[in-house]
Amino acid sequence: MSNGATARTGLVAATLVTSAVALAMIAFYVPNDRVQGVVQRIFYFHLPIAWIAYLAFFVVLVASIAYLMTRDAKWDTVARASVEIGVLFTTLVLITGSLWGKPIWNTWWSWDARLTTTLVLWFIYVGYIMLRSYTPDRERGARFGAIVGIVGFIDIPIVHFSVQWWRTLHPEPVVARSNPQLPIEMIVTLGISLLAMTLVYVTLMVYRTALERLRDENRELENEAAWDERAYA
């Protein structure tokens, strides 16, 4: 087995083990919230998923800037892979949030500032994927995508600070503040869940970028085959 394959296997194993530990802690270790009861445990999925959505779109921002500066296709590959994973996680943020909202707010959805800006975020990056699909020219698509990747990121601080800028139903931060109001078991469980979700993101990125490279090779080989066909005809 090559070094790369060994590293990938190690990464997958670490991701699976950490995810299993996080799930066990959510199910058996962390105490119930006094007010919300068992449903508060959705927080240990919801918050790490939201963190990964932010991280994925931040990676898109960095890769898009790097692409526009260098025109190196590898940055476009990273941006394209990260957008897809970011959209998956933003979808999960909306679903898990809704599943928490129904028993706590007694509604699946509310046009609250946090929820609405998150939905806008989802539309922006779904738009990115559609734009890439409908732009067959790789270089042009990469350039357009990079602009959407940079401009779209403006929504992230709006999503994050929406609970402070506007009166919303969504709870204010309980961890990212100077004096976190959570018991230690909750902070440890959240930390392990964040680590597990970050490893999931890294693993998916490794395989998604590998897929993009293989597809690039496919395109080059197709061009070579077409060229040979004309040359030897």
């Binding site: 449903v39 999925f45 998956l88 395989y207 998604r208 496919n218 030897y232």
Partner: protein, 55 residues
Amino acid sequence: MPSADPMGSVGYLIAAAAVTLLAIAGYALMLSRWINDARARNARLRDEVRRERKG
């Protein structure tokens, strides 16, 4: 504030866990399938180019 019976809401927690796990596992499986397909296509195209050049 809780709407009613917060302790009876385990179904929502199970649904959130199931949706999260199924979505991530499903995406990972799809990636693995796409990678295998792309590898097979690469091998076929390389073979085609080699044969074309020999012939």
